[in-house]
């Protein structure tokens, strides 16, 4: 269990007006995996390094397993090597002058309580077994592949049985195919051991795949948090919606409300959407629609389709992306069905699925302060 209150880390240098980590409150429940997700420079890695003690906060409090490891009020700062943590680094950080098992044994032989060699070796072998590398134990570290090195790194972080596991973009140095395997491995090991884990990434697919809870960050602040499914299906802010790949957005006005469903008038018609937050009639909103929720047809069978023309198409193998101009807006539609190819200039009708689009009030703050959400306003797609 990790509890963080009012955590602040300033940037080095004077010219910077905002903080690297700006007043963050965060709790990672026992045994859960929480992802810190956000674009580069959003403060996610800094937050992780503050938890680890690799950097010193400027204010706030951090507890690990109930024990205070940092507190600006009580002037407590526990050094990295005295915190009950295991860290996996983006660059693996596997020591090149040691073998695999020597790497994994290091924490057992160097920490506060030192195990005798045979015992340490046995425990290190267990950890290697856990990540499936027991038979490579005596390989020199540089002779291992990237994926193997990252699994060594994971074994090394776990062998001391730390209270929390901290993963700093552990997959981003790996090849694409390998990435999925190591990702699955990390999640499997984490659930098997039930270890409290913080996982930092900039990749939303990765975050969705492994997390119990996703925390979205921007400008050093937390924008939104929630279970992976909720973050994906029901984002509550424009920043989250865009970051989670909902690339179509249109301005509209609320005309009717019932529970969490609202009817929205759009430039091309009306649409029943899911409301993010409390909406009343007359509210200005932005409607976010996933490309998968837009279907295309040559004829307007329902009478609700929006008339447009195909700009261009992209073939992905398992699906097509059609970019369709409707009025002033360029909409992206993803079609999985085998389809007669549409090409540039073809007239089509775009029909949005009802009750899947999300209506987000205009001007939802990107974060809980008034920083302009620059990244959020960039047109996606």
């Amino acid at each position: 269990m990790i509890e963080i209150r009012g955590l602040i880390k300033r940037f080095d240098g004077k010219a910077v007006t905002r903080n690297a980590v700006d007043n963050i409150d965060l709790t990672v429940p026992e045994g859960q995996l929480v992802t810190l997700l956000g674009p580069s420079g959003c403060g996610k890695t800094t937050t992780l390094r503050l938890i680890a003690g690799l950097e010193r906060p400027d204010a706030g409090e951090i507890r690990i397993g109930g024990k205070v490891v940092y507190s600006s009020d009580d002037n407590v700062y526990v050094g990295v090597h005295q915190r009950p943590i295991g860290v996996v680094f983006q660059s693996y950080a596997v020591w090149p002058h040691m073998t695999a098992i020597q790497n994994v044994m290091f924490p057992l032989r160097s920490g506060q309580k030192k195990l005798p060699v045979p015992e340490a070796r046995a425990k290190a072998m267990e950890a290697l077994d856990l990540v499936g590398l027991a038979d490579l134990a005596d390989r020199p570290a540089p002779a291992l592949s990237g994926g193997q090195q990252q699994r060594i790194s994971l074994a090394r972080a776990l062998t001391r049985e730390p209270e929390v596991l901290l993963l700093d973009e552990p997959l981003s140095n790996l090849d694409k195919g390998l990435r999925d395997r190591v990702r699955d491995e990390i999640r499997a090991v984490q659930q098997r051991l039930g270890i409290t884990t913080v996982f930092v990434t900039h990749d939303q697919d990765e975050a969705l795949a492994v997390s119990d809870e996703v925390i979205l960050m921007e400008y050093g602040q937390i924008v939104e948090r929630g279970p992976a499914q909720q973050i994906y299906a029901r984002p509550r802010s424009e920043f989250t919606a865009r970051f989670m790949g909902i690339s179509n957005s249109m301005p509209g006005t609320v005309t009717a409300c019932s529970d969490d469903l609202v009817d929205i008038t759009l430039p091309h018609g009306t649409l029943r959407c899911v409301a993010a937050g409390d909406l009343v009639e007359g509210h200005q909103v932005n409607v976010f629609i996933r490309p998968e929720s837009l279907s295309l047809s040559r004829k307007d069978t329902t009478g609700l389709g929006w008339k447009g023309t195909v700009e261009f198409s992209i073939y992905h193998g398992d699906c097509w992306d059609y970019h369709v101009r409707v009025g002033d807006t360029l909409l992206r539609s993803r079609i999985y069905k085998e389809k007669v190819g549409l090409s540039h200039g073809d007239p089509v009708f775009v029909s949005p699925d009802q009750e899947t689009a999300i209506a987000i009030p205009v001007g939802t703050p990107a974060a809980n302060a008034g920083t302009p959400p620059l990244a959020g306003t960039a047109t996606a797609g």
Binding site: L54, H81, G86, S91, A93, H97, G111, R156, S172
Partner: protein
């Protein structure tokens, strides 16, 4: 050497289907029809000549019965037997190794220690790190030596006076310890730079991983940092050893008065005697050459294996600081002490001495005698102004030649598939392994004995040749990375647009390389301007360069003149160094490398 190739930009038309397979001769003739190939072949020959001549002549001299005499040439190993058989020689070996090894140890420990503080801890000393890059360039070894000799002059040296006032025993600088001190002061900043580079290349998450494994900081330093940095330390120590064993100023100015002879001073003094024992000089020269080559070989090898520590750094790489807490002020103090001792003291000593009519230690009373007369003496003594002019001419010429040569060599080795380009690359770096003393003596021997249609001894040209040879590897270091960054497509695009190769080189490469070329030029000017270890063997009355003048004026006892001239030199070098760092910083080239 053969540079025959199928080179990318202008493939020789040898493979035409209609063309019958030509003889070897005709193929070579065809190859030479391309002006580019002729130019490249000439460049290769020039570089080979420059690289091979000094060391080669040295070998020949050591093997001839009576070198440089009218007698018939005989070949013999006699000199080796005679020289290596004397106990005198082995005393020399003992002195030289003790001197160089102690210097290497001192400057590597201090240099890497300071580098660790600045690159791995939060010691607030980044400012010093930037200065350190410049110091060894603007204070030539000869001036450093002169300043320390003044600081620790047996009776009147400023520091010895101070020691005596504190009732401490005076320090005798004319001893092995004195030599080590003076040379260490000169080379430690270089070791410091190598240290910051080594620590900078090491992914700091390797240390963070150990910290977060529960190892306390001192254990991390011992088991991870020290272990990973070890090859770089050994590599730097060997390089310092080689540099120390092959330079002139400290052994001659500090060692000889204390009767501590090492290789370099022995060679110099042997050449001052008549009749000169050329054979012994040759043998000692070869001995240093071998020691230097072996040292550099292992230095490179270790430096290379340091790459294992570089594994992958990725974009997550950010060098971080170990928080020293209050101890960081102690770290800062270490820097301040070092810079006061290694930089401020020698420079202040020079300035002080340059302002007095005769040397005396600093005191209130002496303030009344301050004068600028030494500066005006420097400006109005024809012999001195002439040596400055000579230095400027040779340095600028050497800079220009090195720039042209190394850009062409770099082109051949990086951008063509010419056979033998690896050898050419090797030849261009050979001068690094040839100690400057050997370079000087070898060049001297060659131009005294070679049956050439012109006489270079006694001209500035012979000095330019020496400086070009010494500067070539440095020029290469600036230009090779520059040329490697230029994509082949840029040249190919020019060729496709119909430009000839010469035009392509002029219009594409030269403008894109301009910053590298300028940096290589200026850096060679600095190297040539400071050079003494080779020049000391090559100058004559008329062709004295400024570094040699410092030495001869010092030997004559004109300390104030030496100091005033020294201040001029430091100011001049500081300006050029400023230009170099402006050029390199503006264009994002690497920091000054040594």
């Amino acid at each position: 050497m053969s540079l025959i190739s199928r080179s990318r930009p202008a493939p020789p038309p040898t493979r035409g289907a209609s063309r019958p397979a030509g003889t070897a001769t005709s193929r070579i003739l065809v190859w030479f029809r391309n002006p580019r190939n002729i130019l490249l072949a000439v460049v290769a020959l020039v570089v080979a000549y420059l690289a091979v001549v000094p060391a080669g002549t040295m070998v020949v001299a050591s093997l001839q019965g009576s070198f440089l005499s009218a007698d018939k040439t005989t070949w013999t190993l006699r000199h080796y037997g005679e020289t290596l058989g004397t106990s005198d020689f082995w005393v020399l070996v003992g002195n030289s190794f003790a001197y160089a090894a102690a210097t290497a140890a001192v400057c590597t420990v201090v240099g890497f220690g300071l580098a660790y503080l600045v690159s791995r801890t939060n010691t607030p000393a980044k400012f010093f790190a930037q200065i350190a890059a410049l110091v060894p360039l603007i204070i030539p070894g000869i001036l450093n030596t002169v300043a320390w000799a003044l600081l620790f002059a047996p009776r009147t040296g400023a520091l010895n006076v101070l020691l005596r006032d504190l009732h401490l025993p005076a320090f005798d600088i004319y001893s092995l310890a004195g030599m080590v001190l003076v040379q260490s002061m000169h080379v430690t900043p270089v070791a410091f730079l190598m240290g910051t580079a080594a620590f900078g290349n090491m992914d700091s998450s390797l240390e963070e991983a150990a910290l977060s494994s529960g190892a306390p900081p001192w254990r991390v330093f011992r088991t991870i940092t020290a272990r990973l940095i070890r090859p770089a330390v050994m590599s730097a120590a060997l390089l310092m050893f080689v540099q120390t064993i092959s330079t002139f100023e400290v052994p001659q100015l500090i060692g000889v008065p204390g009767h501590k002879f090492v290789f370099v001073s022995r060679i110099y003094n042997a050449l001052q005697q008549f009749p000169t024992d050329y054979g012994t000089v040759g043998v000692i020269g070869i001995f240093i050459l071998v020691v230097a080559s072996v040292g550099l070989y292992f230095s490179r090898k270790l430096g290379g294996s340091g790459a294992e520590a570089q594994t992958i750094t990725g974009k997550g790489f950010r060098p971080t600081s170990i928080d020293l807490g209050r101890w960081k002020w102690l770290g800062l103090a270490a820097f301040v002490v070092f810079f006061v001792v290694a930089v401020a003291l020698p420079l202040l000593m020079l300035v002080w001495s340059s302002l007095l009519p005769g040397y005396e230690p600093p005191s209130i009373a002496a303030l009344h005698r301050l004068t600028l007369s030494n500066y005006s003496a420097v400006l109005h003594t024809p012999a001195l102004t002439k040596s400055v002019t000579n230095s400027l001419i040779t340095a600028v010429l050497a800079g220009a030649v090195v720039t042209v040569l190394s850009s062409l060599v770099a082109y051949i080795t990086v951008k063509t598939k010419a056979r033998g380009r690896g050898i050419l690359d090797g030849l261009a770096t050979v001068p690094i392994a040839v100690p400057s003393v050997v370079m000087g003596v070898g060049i001297l021997y060659w131009y005294l004995t070679a049956p050439l249609p012109f006489h270079l001894y006694g001209t500035l040209a012979i000095l330019v040749i020496a400086f070009v040879t010494i500067g070539l590897p440095y020029g290469m270091r600036y230009i090779v990375p520059g040329i490697a960054q230029i994509k082949d497509e840029l040249e190919e695009a020019a060729a496709v647009s119909g430009a000839s190769w010469l035009r392509t080189f002029r219009r594409i490469y030269v403008p894109l390389l301009a910053p590298s070329l300028l940096a290589a030029f200026l850096y060679t000017v600095i190297v040539a301007f400071r050079e003494i270890s080779a020049a000391i063997f090559l100058y004559t009355e008329d062709t004295q360069v400024v570094s040699v003048t410092i030495y001869t004026e010092w030997a004559n006892g004109s300390y104030p003149i030496v100091a005033a001239l020294g201040v001029f030199i430091v100011v001049f070098l500081a300006v050029i160094v400023g230009l170099v760092s402006l050029v390199t910083r503006k264009t994002g080239l690497n920091r000054n490398r040594h």
